[in-house]
C-alpha cells in the first residue's frame, strides 16, 4: 500500500535507536530504508512509501513505512 505522509522526523529510543515519522495527528510510523538526508530529528517532511504489513520490528512503535521518496518541508 503506497501512501504519502507529512510529519516530523523523530529518533526514538528503542534498542540502539529507531527513525520515526510522527504526523500532526500524533500517528507514529517506523521508517525503514531511511536515506541519510532524513536522519535528522526535527525535520518536517513529506514522505512517500509503502506500509509493510509483512514486516515485524523490535521498535514496535507503529506501521513500518518503507521510504521511497521524500520532500523536506523545513528544518
Amino acid at each position: 500500500m503506497s501512501i504519502q505522509v507529512k510529519g516530523t522526523i523523530d529518533r526514538q529510543g528503542f534498542g540502539p535507536g529507531t527513525w520515526a515519522l510522527v504526523t500532526e495527528s500524533g500517528e507514529t510510523y517506523e521508517l525503514h530504508t531511511v536515506p541519510d538526508e532524513l536522519k535528522h530529528a526535527g525535520l518536517t517532511v513529506k514522505v512517500s512509501g509503502q506500509v509493510k504489513k509483512d514486516v515485524m520490528t523490535f521498535a514496535m512503535i507503529g506501521p513500518v513505512l518503507e521510504v521511497q521518496g521524500f520532500e523536506i518541508l523545513n528544518s
Binding site: 509483512d54 514486516v55 515485524m56 520490528t57 514496535m60
Partner: protein, 621 residues
C-alpha cells in the same frame, strides 16, 4: 535353579559395585598425614618416635594446633607413598590411626576476565565453557547493583532454587554476539535467516541485549547478571541491522527453534498484520511443548501487537522502575503479564535495563541501558526457563504458574498489567510446590476454540464472586418485597442493570477497537462513573441513591419502565451493600470507614426508596 541364578547375578553385581565404589576418601586431596599417638605412650616415648620419623623420612612433625597436644595429634607433610609406608611400619602399633589430612573447600567460583579484543563479531563461543557454580546471596558481578529490574522480580530468591540448567531459550531477534559478559554463557546452534547462514551474530545490538537479560554470564566478576544464566541460548537472526524482518523469516525461525530442541522462545519484536504462517509455526511450537513469549509493543496503544496477541503466546507489557506501566508500553487485549522494560525518557539512563551489548557502528562491546517491551519479554522468557528447569514441562502450565505467581494489581481496568507483575521467586516456588490449578475458565474457553481469536478474553477483569453476590442479592431484596412486585422482564432487567450490569462483557476485548463501549455495557449503574476511563473505583455520584431517584422520577408515569426503575433501585442497593462489605473504594472518600458508611447508608436509602415506590404503586393501583 532360576532363583539361584538370580541370586548369583545379584551377588556378582553387588561385588562389582563395591569394587568400583570409589568411596569418599579417594575424592579428597591431601598433602599432609595425621598421626594420632596412643595416649598410653608417655611423653618421652612420643618425643622419641617424633625424632625418629623426622630423621628417617626427612619431615618435620608438628602439632596440628595448640589444642592437639593433649590428644597427641601430629601432622607431617607427605603423600600416599609415605602414608602406606607409615601404616606398614612399627608406628602402626604406636598410633591410634594414621590417615590423610584431607583438604575441604567451598567450591571455587570460576571467574572470567575478558581477553582484550574478545568483543569481535565472531561466532558465539560454543557450549564448552565450564558451568558457573551458584552462590548464596547477591552475585559478584560488579554492576549487579544497577539492575533494579532483577530486584523488582525477586530474582535472588529464585536463584536459590535454579539457574535454568538444562533449558534452551531461542532468541528470535537481530542475532547474538559473543560480548565479554556472554563468554561463559552456553550456546547451541542457531541460524541467520536474514543472510541465510549458520553464523547468527548480531549487527544491531538489540538481540545481544535481550539475550543478556535472559542468560548474561553471572558470578563471573564482570558486568551484570542474567536471569537463567545456566540455560543455553539459541541465536536466531530474523531482524536486519535496521531492525526489521519478514513474517516468513520469523515463522521459519519459530519452526527451527521447535525442531531443534528449544524449550522457550523469546520474540522481542512485533508489528505487521495477522500471518497464518506465523500462527501455524506458533501452534507447531506449542504442540512441541515450547513456551512462547512476545513483547506487547511500544506504541502505547490499546491492544498488543502481533505476535504477542496470538493465542498460546504470552504477551508482555513493560513496567518502569517505579512499577508503573512504562509510558510507551502497549496494553489491553493481548497482555498476559507485565515485567520491567524500563524507561529512559529524558535521558534517565538509570531507569533503563542494563545489559552487555555491542555498538552497531563499531561492533565493540558496551554496557547499554535500553527501554522497551523488548526488554520486558526476556524477563518473562528467563523466568519461564527457571520454571521449566524445576520440572514443569507443559507450556500452558508454565504460563499459568507465572500468571498465578504474579503480583496482582488491584485497579487495572485497562489491563496495563495482565495478570500482574512478574515475580520470579513466587513463580519458582509455586512450580516446585506443584500446585497449579487452571482457574481461568474464560481463557480455557478461548484456547479451546469456542471464541474467535479476534476477541480477547480477560478472565481476571472481573471478580466473579462479588458480581454473582450482587445479582443474587438484588433478587433477594426483590424477594423481600415479593408481595408487591410483579416478576416481569423490565423488573429483571432493572435488577441486573442496577446490581452487576452485563459484567461478562467487561471480560471481552476486541483487538484494535475502543474498549469503553463494552465496559459501559458491562457496568452496573454504580460503576458507570469509572466505566469510560476503565477505573474500578466507584464514583459517589453514581454509587448512591441519586441515579435511582432520577430513574424513578423519569419512568414513574410509564407502566412498564417504572418496574425497570424499581428493579434498578433494588439492584443498586445490592451492589452498594456488597461493595460496602467487599471493597469499599470511592473517589474522594477513599477506602476506609467513611466510604463503607457512605455505601451502607445509600444501600439502605435505595432499599427504602424501592419499598416506598412499590407500596405507593400498590396503594394507587
Amino acid at each position: 535353579m532360576k532363583k539361584l541364578l538370580i541370586f548369583a547375578l545379584f551377588l556378582l553385581g553387588l561385588g562389582w559395585a563395591i569394587s568400583n565404589f570409589s568411596g569418599l576418601a579417594t575424592r579428597g586431596t591431601y598433602d599432609s598425614i595425621v598421626l594420632d599417638f596412643k595416649e598410653s605412650l608417655g611423653k618421652a616415648q612420643i618425643e622419641q618416635e617424633i625424632q625418629a620419623i623426622a630423621r628417617q623420612y626427612q619431615v618435620t612433625p608438628h602439632l596440628n594446633s595448640a589444642f592437639s597436644g593433649s590428644d597427641n595429634v601430629y601432622l607431617i607433610k607427605g603423600n600416599g607413598v609415605l602414608l602406606n609406608t607409615l601404616r606398614h611400619s612399627h608406628l602402626a602399633r604406636a598410633t591410634e590411626f594414621i590417615e590423610p589430612a584431607y583438604i575441604y573447600s567451598i567450591p571455587e567460583i570460576i571467574s572470567a576476565t575478558p581477553e582484550p579484543g574478545s568483543q569481535g563479531l565472531t561466532a558465539p563461543a560454543s557450549a564448552e565453557s565450564p558451568a558457573i557454580r551458584p552462590q548464596i546471596g547477591a552475585p559478584n558481578d560488579p554492576d549487579y547493583h544497577k539492575q533494579w529490574n532483577f530486584r523488582a522480580i525477586n530474582i535472588e530468591a529464585a536463584w536459590s532454587e535454579t539457574h535454568g540448567q538444562g533449558i534452551t531459550i531461542a532468541v528470535i531477534d537481530t542475532g547474538i554476539s559473543p560480548v565479554p559478559d556472554l563468554q561463559q554463557t552456553q550456546f547451541v546452534k542457531g541460524y541467520d535467516f536474514v543472510n541465510d547462514r549458520e553464523d547468527a551474530t548480531d549487527d544491531n545490538g538489540h538481540g545481544t541485549h535481550v539475550a543478556g537479560t535472559i542468560a548474561q554470564s553471572t558470578n563471573n566478576h564482570l558486568g551484570v547478571t542474567g536471569i537463567a544464566y545456566e540455560a543455553k541460548l539459541m541465536p536466531l537472526k530474523v531482524l536486519s541491522a535496521e531492525g526489521g524482518g519478514t513474517t516468513a523469516d520469523i515463522a521459519e525461525a519459530i519452526k527451527f527453534a521447535a525442531d531443534n530442541g528449544a524449550d522457550v522462545i523469546n520474540m522481542s519484536l512485533g508489528g505487521g498484520g495477522e500471518s497464518q504462517l506465523i500462527k501455524e509455526a506458533i501452534d507447531h511450537a506449542h504442540r512441541k511443548g515450547i513456551v512462547l513469549v512476545a513483547a506487547a509493543g511500544n506504541a502505547n496503544q490499546n491492544s498488543a501487537s502481533y505476535p504477542a496477541r496470538y493465542p498460546r503466546v504470552i504477551g508482555v507489557s513493560a513496567l518502569d522502575a517505579m512499577g508503573n506501566k512504562a509510558p510507551y508500553s502497549s496494553f489491553g487485549a493481548g497482555v498476559d503479564i507485565s515485567a520491567p522494560g524500563g524507561s529512559t525518557a529524558d535521558g534517565n539512563v538509570a531507569g533503563g535495563i542494563l545489559q552487555n551489548t555491542l555498538d552497531p557502528q563499531t561492533g565493540h562491546s558496551l554496557f547499554a541501558a535500553f527501554q522497551g517491551t523488548s526488554m520486558a519479554a526476556p524477563h518473562v522468557a528467563g523466568v519461564a526457563a527457571l520454571v521449566k528447569a524445576t520440572g514443569v514441562s507443559n507450556p500452558d502450565e508454565v504460563a499459568e504458574v507465572m500468571k498465578q505467581a504474579a503480583l496482582k494489581v488491584k485497579d487495572d481496568g485497562l489491563n496495563h498489567f495482565g495478570s500482574g507483575k512478574l515475580d520470579a521467586a513466587a513463580a519458582v516456588k509455586l512450580a516446585t510446590q506443584g500446585k497449579i490449578t487452571f482457574r481461568d475458565f474464560f481463557r480455557w474457553l478461548r484456547d479451546n476454540g469456542y471464541l474467535n481469536p479476534r476477541f480477547w478474553i480477560d478472565g481476571g477483569a472481573v471478580a466473579l464472586l462479588p458480581k454473582l453476590a450482587m445479582v443474587l442479592g438484588s433478587y433477594l431484596l426483590a424477594f423481600l418485597l415479593r408481595n408487591y412486585l410483579p416478576f416481569t422482564a423490565p423488573l429483571a432487567w432493572g435488577l441486573v442493570t442496577g446490581s452487576s450490569g452485563l459484567f461478562f462483557l467487561r471480560c471481552i476485548s476486541l483487538f484494535d477497537a475502543p474498549q469503553w463501549p463494552l465496559r459501559l455495557l458491562g457496568s452496573s449503574i454504580p460503576e458507570l462513573g469509572g466505566a469510560i476511563q476503565g477505573s474500578s473505583v466507584l464514583n459517589p455520584i453514581f454509587a448512591s441513591v441519586l441515579v435511582p431517584v432520577g430513574l424513578l422520577a423519569l419512568f414513574w408515569g410509564h407502566p412498564r419502565a417504572k418496574w425497570f426503575a424499581i428493579g434498578s433501585t433494588l439492584g443498586v442497593a445490592a451492589c452498594l451493600l456488597i461493595s460496602a462489605l467487599v471493597s469499599p473504594t470511592l473517589v474522594w472518600l477513599g477506602e476506609g470507614m467513611v466510604a463503607r458508611l457512605f455505601l451502607l447508608v445509600n444501600a439502605l436509602l435505595c432499599f427504602g426508596l424501592a419499598r416506598l415506590a412499590v407500596s405507593d404503586e400498590r396503594r394507587t393501583a
